[in-house]
Amino acid sequence: MDPVQLVRSVLLIEIIAFAGALAVFFGHAVVSNARERRWAVATARGRRALMEVVRTGRPTKADEALLRGLPTRLKVRLFTELIPSISGQGRAQLGALAREIGLVPVAERLARSRSWRDRLLGVRLLATIGGGLDIVPALLDDGHSGVRAEAVEWAGEHPTPEIVERLVGLLPATDCYGRFVVRDTLLRLRAATIGPLVRYLETHDGAAAEPALDVAAGIAHPAFSAVALRLCHDPDAPVRARAAALAGAIGSEEAMGVLQRMVHDDDAGVRAAAAAALGRLGHWPSAAVIAPLLRDRAWIVRSQGALALRGLGSPGHLYLRRGLTDEDPFAADISRQVLDLPESSAERERW
C-alpha cells in the first residue's frame, strides 16, 4: 500500500475514534443526567416510604406498591444507602420488606450468576438486606477475591457457629482474603468468635497461629489464657511475641512467671513484647526482672523495658532513677527519656 494512502487510512480511523469517543462522552453525560432527573421524584418518595417502614414497622399499601414499581437499580440504591446506618428491629423490617418486594430473590439470582461482577453485586446486596444462607457460604471459596471478601462480610452478618468456625479457619489465608476483612469480621463478632478461636489456637502453631493471636489479643478474653501460655513456647519468634502480648492483655498468676522468663528470650521482639506485657499488667514484683533490659542491645527492648518500669509505679521508678547513673550510656539515656515524660496525673489525663 502507498504510504500516503496508509497514513490517510490511519487518520480516518482516528477521526472515527475521536467522533465515537466524543459521542460516548457527551452521550453518557446526557443519559445519566436524564436518568437522575427522571428518578429524582421516585427516589424522594422511596426514601420516605422506607423511613415510614423504620418508624411504623409496616409500609402502607401505596408505599409498598410504589416500592415494587421502582426500577431494580433504584431499589438497590435506596436499600443499600439506608440499611447500613440502621440496626435492630428497623433493619430486620427493611430486610423483610426487601424480600416481600422481590429484592432478595434478585440478589440471590445475581449471587448464582456465572459472572463474577453479578456475584459481587448479589453478595453485597445480600450482606445488606439479608438472605442467601443457601448460596453465600459456598462463595467464601469463590474464584474472585472481591466476591470472597464480600462473602466474608456477609458471614459477619450471619454468624452461625459453622460459619464462624469457617471464618476462623480462613485467618491464615491472607493471600486470598487480604489482611483485613476476616480479622475485622471476627473482631466485630467478638463473643461468637471466642470458642472457635480457642479451638483453632489449641491445634495450630507457627505462622498459622499469628493472625489468630492478633484477633485474640483484640478480644482479650480469659478463655484464651491457656492457649496464650502454650504458644509462648512456640519455636517462631513472632508467634511468641504475639502470645506474650495476648497473655499480657489477659493476665494471670501463671502468665507472670512465663512472661518473666520471656524477657530473657533470644529474640528482641519477644523480649520487648514480654516487658510491655508485664508493664501493662502493672506487676510490680517484675521490676527487678525488667530492669536489666535497660542495657539491652536492641532499642525496642530498652524503650519497652523503660516504659514498662514506668508503668509499674514506684518500684519501676526506682530502677529508672538508678538507670540514670548506669555506666551503660544507652541505659542512662533511655531512663532519662522515660523519666522526662509528663508525670503528674493532670498531665496524664491531658494526654
Partner: protein, 474 residues
C-alpha cells in the same frame, strides 16, 4: 554518493527509525489504555457500593500517620492542618514538620492548636537535620508538630518518619487539598493485598474549581489555556498512564503530593533520599527494588479515585521550571537505579516497566525533537514527501488527542467530577489544543531538564502559587 545524497539518506533512515519508535510507543500506549479501561471497570465495580463504614469502626484498620512538611506556610498552615485533622479515618495521626520556616509557622500552630512540648521516646533511625522542638496539641492529641532546622522536603519527611507511629505513612505536600475520605480509598490495596508496599492516587488540578474550607466542592475546568492543558494532561497521566500499569507490572512513580507507604518498609529502606530532585520517584523505585531483593512486598498500587487536588502553575515560566525539574528528577532516579534495566531479578519491573521509563518517558522528548528537526530539514531538502509529512503530523498529534479523549470518557463513566456541559466542552477543547503548542513546549522544557541534569544541576527552582483564594467560594 555526494554529501547531499548522504544527508538525504541519513534523514530518510532517521525518519524511518522515528516512525518505528512512534509505532512502538503508541502501540504500548494503546495497551496501557486498554489495561486502564479494564482496571477502571473492575475498580468501579469493586469500590462502588463497598461498605466503607466498616473501616471507620474497625479495630483491625491499620493506623496512618500523615506527614505534612511545612516551610513558610504561616498564612495557610492552620487551614491545612484543620483539613488533615478532619479526614475520615479511624486511627489517624498528623505529624506536621516545620522545616526551619523563617515566618511565624510554629507560632501560628502553637496559638491555633494549643501546643505543649513533649518528650516522646523515639529512635532516630533515619538521618535528618536537628530537631529543635517537639509538641503535641492539647486540643487534638493526634496532632504532633516537629520543629527542625531547615533541610528541605526530603529531610523534613525523614524527621517525620522517625516520629511517626502509624503502620502506614502518608506523605503530602503542604498545599495539597485532600478529599475527606481519601485515606479510606487509598488504604484499600493494603487491606486486600499482601504484595503492596505503597499506594498512590489520582491528583487533580484545582485551578478554577470551587474550594470551600480546604476541600474542592465542585470541580470546574479552568478557563485559561495553561492550567486547562494541565488538567487533561494530569487526567491522561493518572487515569491511563498510571492505572494501566497496575496490570502490566506496577507503577514506578507515586506523586509527592499524596502517597501512602508501609512505614516499616520506608524505615528499612532508609527514608527519603536528600540528594535528588526526584525524591518521590526515588523512594518508590527503591522500595520496589528492596521488595524484589528481599522477596517481600514490592508492588505499588494505583487507586484511580481522585484523592487530592493541587494548584497547577499558571505561567509558562513557572511551568517550565516544574517540568524541567521533573525531567531532571526522572533522569537522576533512572541513572541511580540503572542496575534494574533488563535485570530479570526485578521481574516485570526490570524487564518491562523500567525500560519503558527509559525508552519512552526519558527519551521521548529527545526523539520528538529529533523527529521535528529531521522533518523540517527533510522538507527543506526535498527528502520527505510533503503530503505524507503533513498527514503523519496529523496522525501523530491526532492520536494524542484521541487518547486524551478516551481518558475523559473513562473519567465521565466512572467519577463524573466535571458535571456541567460547559466544563465537559472545555475539557474537550483543552484535549485538542494541548497538542498544538503546549506539547511542543513541554518537549523543550524536558530537553532543558536533560541538558541541566547532564551539567549537574540539582536546583529546585522557585514555585510561585497564586493560592486557592481566587477560587474559594465564600
Amino acid at each position: 554518493m555526494d554529501v547531499g545524497q548522504f544527508v538525504e539518506l541519513v534523514l530518510v533512515r532517521l525518519e524511518t527509525a522515528i516512525l518505528v519508535y512512534f509505532l512502538l510507543v503508541n502501540g504500548w500506549y494503546l495497551l496501557l489504555l486498554v489495561s486502564a479501561g479494564y482496571e477502571m471497570r473492575e475498580y468501579v465495580l469493586l469500590a462502588r457500593g463497598r461498605a466503607r463504614w466498616r473501616l471507620m469502626g474497625s479495630r483491625a484498620a491499620p493506623s496512618i500517620s500523615m506527614l505534612a512538611p511545612a516551610y513558610n506556610e504561616a498564612a495557610t498552615i492552620s487551614e491545612s492542618v484543620r483539613g488533615l485533622l478532619a479526614l475520615y479515618y479511624p486511627n489517624l495521626e498528623v505529624v506536621v514538620v516545620n522545616d526551619g520556616s523563617r515566618d511565624e509557622t510554629v507560632q501560628v500552630l502553637m496559638d491555633t492548636f494549643d501546643l505543649a512540648p513533649i518528650h516522646p521516646i523515639y529512635q532516630k533511625r533515619i538521618r535528618s537535620k536537628d530537631i529543635v522542638g517537639l509538641y503535641r496539641s492539647r486540643l487534638h492529641p493526634n496532632l504532633v508538630v516537629v520543629d527542625k532546622v531547615n533541610g528541605g522536603k526530603a529531610d523534613a519527611l525523614n524527621a517525620g518518619l522517625n516520629l511517626a507511629t502509624g503502620d502506614l505513612v502518608c506523605a503530602i505536600d503542604a498545599d495539597t487539598l485532600i478529599e475527606a475520605d481519601s485515606l479510606q480509598r487509598m488504604v484499600g490495596p493494603f487491606l486486600h493485598r499482601n504484595d503492596v508496599v505503597a499506594a498512590g492516587g489520582t491528583i487533580r488540578i484545582a485551578n478554577g474549581s470551587i474550594v470551600e474550607n480546604g476541600r474542592v466542592t465542585q470541580a470546574r475546568a479552568p478557563r485559561a489555556l495553561i492550567p486547562g492543558c494541565q488538567v487533561v494532561e494530569y487526567l491522561r497521566a493518572f487515569l491511563f498512564g498510571r492505572l494501566g500499569w497496575n496490570r502490566l507490572g506496577g507503577n514506578l512513580i507515586i506523586s509527592g503530593a499524596f502517597g501512602l507507604f508501609d512505614r516499616q518498609a520506608m524505615m528499612t529502606a532508609g527514608g527519603y533520599e536528600h540528594d535528588t530532585v526526584g525524591e518521590d520517584m526515588e523512594i518508590a523505585l527503591r522500595l520496589r527494588r528492596a521488595g524484589y531483593e528481599t522477596k517481600g512486598p514490592h508492588q505499588i498500587a494505583f487507586v484511580p479515585d481522585p484523592v487530592a487536588w493541587t494548584e497547577a502553575p499558571e505561567s509558562r515560566r513557572v511551568l517550565g521550571r516544574q517540568r524541567d525539574r521533573w525531567h531532571r528528577g526522572l533522569a537522576d532516579v533512572l541513572w541511580r537505579h540503572r542496575g534494574v534495566m533488563f535485570n530479570p531479578r526485578y521481574g516485570t519491573m526490570g524487564m518491562v516497566v523500567y525500560p519503558y521509563f527509559v525508552i519512552v518517558e526519558l527519551m521521548a522528548p529527545i526523539v520528538e525533537f529529533i523527529g521535528l528537526l529531521g522533518l523540517v530539514l527533510g522538507l527543506a531538502m526535498g527528502a520527505i514527501n510533503l503530503p505524507f509529512a503533513i498527514l503523519f503530523f496529523l496522525v501523530a498529534y491526532g492520536l494524542g488527542a484521541v487518547m486524551t479523549l478516551m481518558t475523559l470518557v473513562m473519567e465521565e463513566m466512572s467519577f463524573q467530577r466535571y458535571d456541567t456541559f460547559t466544563d465537559r466542552a472545555l475539557l474537550v477543547l483543552w484535549a485538542l489544543l494541548e497538542n498544538v503548542g503546549y506539547r511542543q513546549l513541554t518537549v523543550f522544557w524536558r530537553l532543558q531538564g536533560i541538558w541541566k541534569y547532564l551539567r549537574g544541576s540539582k536546583s529546585w527552582g522557585a514555585m510561585e502559587r497564586k493560592g486557592f483564594a481566587a477560587a474559594v467560594k465564600k
